[in-house]
C-alpha cells in the first residue's frame, strides 16, 4: 500500500517538467512561427544541407575536441601526482579541482581578457621582461583563446578523474600480472592502462560535453561569426535574426548530439565504476625530485588558473584615468554599487536578483528532485521515468530559452512573465543534475539499513525521517548549493528572456564587457566570485560534494 503511494509522488515533478519543459519545447518544434508552421523533418534536414550550418556543427565538435585534448594534456600529470603520492595539501588541491563545476563561465571570460588580453597581465609581464613594444601574445578573439579558456577551466575535472583512477588501481592485479610473467611495460599495457582508460575517457567525455555546450566563452572570446558554435548560432538566430524555425532546427541537432554524448558518458561512467571495484592503492611518499617537478607543475597551474581570477579582484580596485596612462587605485566602482557612474546602482539590484533567483531555484528544485529521486529509486523498471526526467540535461539552455520565447509570444507578455520564465528555466536546467546527485546518494544507502530499521518498528515516513534522510543530509545540502550555483552563473536564458530593466550579476558583467568597460565589470565579477567561493566552501564542508558524479 505504502509502495503505491510513494511511487505516485513522482507525478508531481513530472507535471512540473511537462508544463515548463515539454510544453515550451513542443511548442517551439510544432509551431515555431515565422513562415514555417512546423520545424518538422523538412526544416531539420534542410539545416544540415546548408554548408554554413554544417561548418558551425563541425566547428562545435572540433573546438570541443581540441579543448578536451588540451585539458587532458594539462590534467594528466596533476591527476597522477595527486593520485599516486601523498603530501601535505593534497586534499586541499583535490577539492579545489571541483571549482569548475561552480564557477560561472562569464567569470572565466572576464578573467581571461584581463590576464591573457593584449593589455593583460601576462603580456605586460612578458613585455617588461623582453622590452618589446608590441604585446608578444595575441591570444584574444581567436580559436586559441577559446581552447585555452576551455582547457584551463576544465582540466581540474581531468585531474580529479585521473587521481581517483590512480587511487583505485589494483595492486594485486598488477602483482598477478607480474607473477604471470609480465614485465614492467607489459604490466602497464595489460593492466594499468586498462584500469586507467575508462575513468579517463569518462572524464574526457564530461569535459567534451561542457565544451560542446559552452556559450559565453565562445560568444565573447571567439569574437565573431567565424567562430560560432551551435549554441551561439541558435542564440544569434533567435535574438538577432528572429528566425525561430531555423533556430529550432539547429537546436534539434544540438539536442540529438548532446543526448547521444550523455548516453556515451553514462556508459563510460558505469564502466569506470565497475573497473574501480576492488582496487585501492595506498599513496606513496613523494621523492624530492618528484616534489620539485610537482611544485613547478602546480605553480604554473596556479598562475594560469588563479591569475585570471585574481586579476578580476585587482582590477575591481583600479581605473584608467586617461587612455595610455597606467591604472590607478580607486574605490569608485564599489561606491557606484549604490548609485551613479557606469554602474548606476545596477549592480546592487542585480545582486539582489541573482541571490533571489539562486535561492528560489535551489528551494524549488529540491522538492521536485527529491520526489523524483525517491519515486524512481525503489522501482525496478525505472528506465522510462529516468529518461523523462533526464531529458532536460540534453537540451541546451539556449534552446529552452527559445521555447519560452515562443510560448511568451503566444501569451500576453507581462513584465512578470519573463521573471517567471527565467526562474522556471533555472529550475529545469538544474533539475537533472540535482536529481542525479540525489539519486546517487540514495543508491549508495545500504539497503540493509532500511531493513534493520523496519524490523525495529520503523515504517513509511518514520523510516524516511529517522534513517534515510539523516544519511543523505550531506548529499541534499550539496545538491542545494549546486542548484544555487547553477542559477547564479547562468546567463543564456537570462540573455534571452530578461525583461527590460532586469539584471543579474552575469548579465551586468556581460553588458559591461560588451561595452569594453572591463574595470567596472570586475565589481559584479568580484561579487559573483565571492558568492561562488562561499558556495564552494559550503559544499566542500559537507564532504559529500562529489558533484562531478552528477554530470
Amino acid at each position: 500500500m505504502i509502495k503505491k503511494k510513494e511511487s505516485l509522488l513522482f507525478l508531481l515533478p513530472l507535471l512540473f517538467l511537462g508544463v515548463f519543459f515539454y510544453l515550451p519545447l513542443g511548442f517551439l518544434f510544432l509551431f515555431p512561427g515565422g513562415t514555417a508552421t512546423l520545424a518538422g523533418p523538412r526544416q531539420i534536414m534542410e539545416v544540415l544541407g546548408d554548408p554554413y550550418y554544417r561548418r558551425v556543427l563541425g566547428f562545435t565538435f572540433a573546438q570541443a575536441a581540441l579543448s578536451t585534448g588540451f585539458a587532458v594534456l594539462l590534467g594528466l600529470p596533476g591527476g597522477w601526482f595527486l593520485g599516486r603520492f601523498d603530501f601535505p595539501g593534497r586534499r586541499a588541491l583535490l577539492s579545489l579541482c571541483s571549482i569548475p563545476f561552480v564557477l560561472p563561465s562569464l567569470l572565466v571570460v572576464l578573467g581571461f581578457v584581463l590576464f591573457f588580453g593584449n593589455n593583460g597581465y601576462l603580456n605586460r609581464f612578458l613585455q617588461s621582461l623582453t622590452g618589446l613594444r608590441e604585446p608578444p601574445l595575441k591570444i584574444l578573439y581567436s580559436l586559441r583563446a577559446v581552447i585555452l579558456a576551455h582547457g584551463f577551466y576544465n582540466f581540474p575535472v581531468i585531474i580529479r578523474c585521473t587521481a581517483a583512477a590512480c587511487r583505485n588501481l589494483s595492486p594485486s592485479r598488477r602483482r598477478a600480472a607480474a607473477s604471470l610473467g609480465a614485465g614492467k611495460p607489459g604490466v602497464f599495457w595489460t593492466v594499468t592502462l586498462r584500469e586507467l582508460i575508462s575513468p579517463l575517457l569518462s572524464g574526457a567525455m564530461m569535459v567534451f560535453l561542457l565544451c560542446f555546450m559552452s556559450f559565453s566563452v565562445i560568444l565573447v572570446l571567439g569574437g565573431g561569426p567565424r567562430y560560432s558554435t551551435l549554441e551561439v548560432e541558435i542564440y544569434r538566430l533567435a535574438r538577432l535574426s528572429l528566425d525561430f524555425p531555423q533556430a529550432a532546427a539547429l537546436g534539434f541537432w544540438g539536442t540529438a548530439c548532446t543526448l547521444l554524448m550523455r548516453g556515451i558518458s553514462l556508459r563510460l561512467q558505469k564502466k569506470a565504476a565497475v573497473i574501480s571495484e576492488g582496487g585501492g592503492s595506498p599513496p606513496e611518499a613523494l621523492r624530492p625530485s618528484g616534489g620539485i617537478l610537482m611544485g613547478v607543475y602546480f605553480f604554473f597551474c596556479a598562475v594560469f588558473v588563479l591569475g585570471p581570477l585574481v586579476s578580476i579582484l585587482v582590477n575591481s580596485f583600479q581605473t584608467l584615468p586617461s587612455r595610455g596612462a597606467g591604472a590607478a587605485f580607486t574605490l569608485r566602482h564599489y561606491r557606484e554599487l549604490f548609485g551613479g557612474g557606469a554602474l548606476g546602482g545596477l549592480t546592487i539590484n542585480a545582486l539582489g536578483n541573482s541571490l533571489f533567483f539562486g535561492l528560489a531555484t535551489a528551494l524549488l528544485v529540491m522538492p521536485a528532485a527529491c520526489l523524483a529521486a525517491f519515486g524512481t529509486a525503489g522501482e525496478k523498471n525505472r528506465l522510462g521515468r529516468e529518461l523523462l526526467f533526464m531529458l532536460p540535461s540534453g537540451v541546451s539552455s539556449v534552446l529552452l530559452g527559445l521555447g519560452y520565447l515562443r510560448l511568451r509570444s503566444l501569451l500576453s507578455p507581462g513584465p512578470a512573465l519573463g521573471r517567471i520564465f527565467i526562474l522556471a528555466a533555472h529550475v529545469i536546467l538544474a533539475f537533472p543534475f540535482v536529481l542525479r546527485h540525489i539519486a546517487g546518494g540514495i543508491r549508495s544507502l545500504p539497503p540493509r539499513l532500511s531493513e534493520a530499521a523496519s524490523v525495529l518498528g520503523a515504517s513509511g515516513t518514520d523510516l524516511f525521517f529517522s534513517v534515510r534522510l539523516p544519511l543523505i543530509k550531506g548529499t541534499l545540502f550539496s545538491a542545494l548549493v549546486f542548484a544555487f550555483c547553477l542559477s547564479l552563473g547562468e546567463i543564456n536564458t537570462v540573455l534571452l528572456l530578461a525583461p527590460r530593466n532586469f539584471n543579474t550579476l552575469p548579465l551586468v558583467m556581460y553588458r559591461l564587457i560588451g561595452a569594453h568597460n572591463f574595470y567596472a565589470a570586475c565589481v559584479p565579477g568580484v561579487l559573483l566570485m565571492a558568492l561562488s567561493g562561499l558556495a564552494f566552501w559550503a559544499m566542500d564542508k559537507t564532504a559529500e560534494g562529489k558533484i562531478e558524479r552528477s554530470f
Binding site: I2, P446, R448, L449, E451, A452, A453, S454, V455, L456, G457, A458, S459, D462, L463, S466, V467, P470, L471
Partner: protein, 361 residues
Amino acid sequence: MKDHFNPEGGLTIRDLRYSRGDFHLQVDLSLSKGSLNCLLGPSGCGKTTLLNLIAGFVPPQGGEILLGGRDLTLLPPHRRRVGVVFQDYALFPHLDVLHNVLYGIKRRFPSLPAPRQIARAREYLDLVRLSGWDKRSVESLSGGEKQRVALARALAPEPELLLLDEPLSALDAGLRVSLRREIARIQAETSLLALYVTHDQEEALSLSDELFLMNRGRILQGGRPEEVYRRPGSLFAASFLGGANFITGRLDQGEGTFLTDAGRRLGVCPSPGFVSGPGRLFFRPEDGRFCGLPENPEAGDFNYFKARLVKTEFLGAFRLFHLLTEEGPVILQAPAGEALPEGELWFKVPRLCCLGFSGQD
C-alpha cells in the same frame, strides 16, 4: 502491548514457497519456544532467503508463518516483532551506540518516558558487556563490538523471535568462538526463540538446541545436533556435515546387509528411505578403529576392512589416515598419539555406525 510476551510463542512455518528464476524454496519448519536453532547449509541453499521471508523483507508466494499464534505472513516487517542481527551489522552510522539501541525501543514502547527508554537501552548494553559505551560512534567500533551493539539493538525491543544471519562470519576465528559463546549465554538468559543461520558446521553443532540442514531451498533434516550428526537422513546430510566415508555396492533390505562392489557382505543400519538396490555404505572417519588380523571378519558387531596406508595428515590433536581398501579409499581419524598395529593393517567399524543409503550420487 497486551499480547507482547507470549509464553506459548513458537514459530511454525507451513508450506512456505518462494521462487526466483530456477531457485525454488519450499519450507515447513517448527521451532519450539525458547530454543536456539541453527539453520545450516551450503551457500546459495536459500537460508538467507528463508530468513528474509520470516523477517518480511521478501514476500512469500505461498504458505504461512505463525509466531506464537500470530499470523505474520502478511504483516510488514515493522509489525512482526522479529529482531534481526545482520551479517554486516547494518548499524545506523548517523547514530551513536546508545541511539542505535534506543531506535527500536522508541518505536516499540513509544509511551515509555524517555529516561526509562534510556535505562532500558543501557540494560541491553550491559547484557552485551558494552556498559558505558553510550556516546561512542559506531564507526569507531571493531567488528566484534559492532556485532554486540547490533545484538543489543535487536534484543532491546523485546522481539518474540531473533533471527541471526551469519552474524559472526565477518569476524576472525578466535573472536568468533568467544562471541558465539556470548550469544549462547545471552539467548539462554533471555530464553528468546532464536534462529541462527550459518554455514559454519562447528558453530551450528555447538550452538544449537536443534539443528536444521538445508539444501536447494528445502529443509532436509532437523533435530538435536548429535542426532543429525550421528544419523544423517540423506547422502547430502551425511556428506555435508562432518567427515564421511562412502563405499559403493548394493543394499539388501530383507537381510539388512550391504554387498560391496568387491563382493564382500557387510552389516548395515538402515536409513530412512532405505530400499534394496544400488546404494552406499557410510561411516564417519572417527568410527573406525585400527586392529590386528580379525579371527572372523564376517561375524560379530563390526565390519572389518584390510587396508594399506597411503599417507597421514597431522592435525594437532589427531591424525587423519588416508587408506586404500579393497572397497576403495577411506579416511580414518585417530588420536595423534595412537600407534599403528604391527603387521597387516586392519580396521573395524561398528555395524551400528554403518548407515546404508539408497542411490549412488
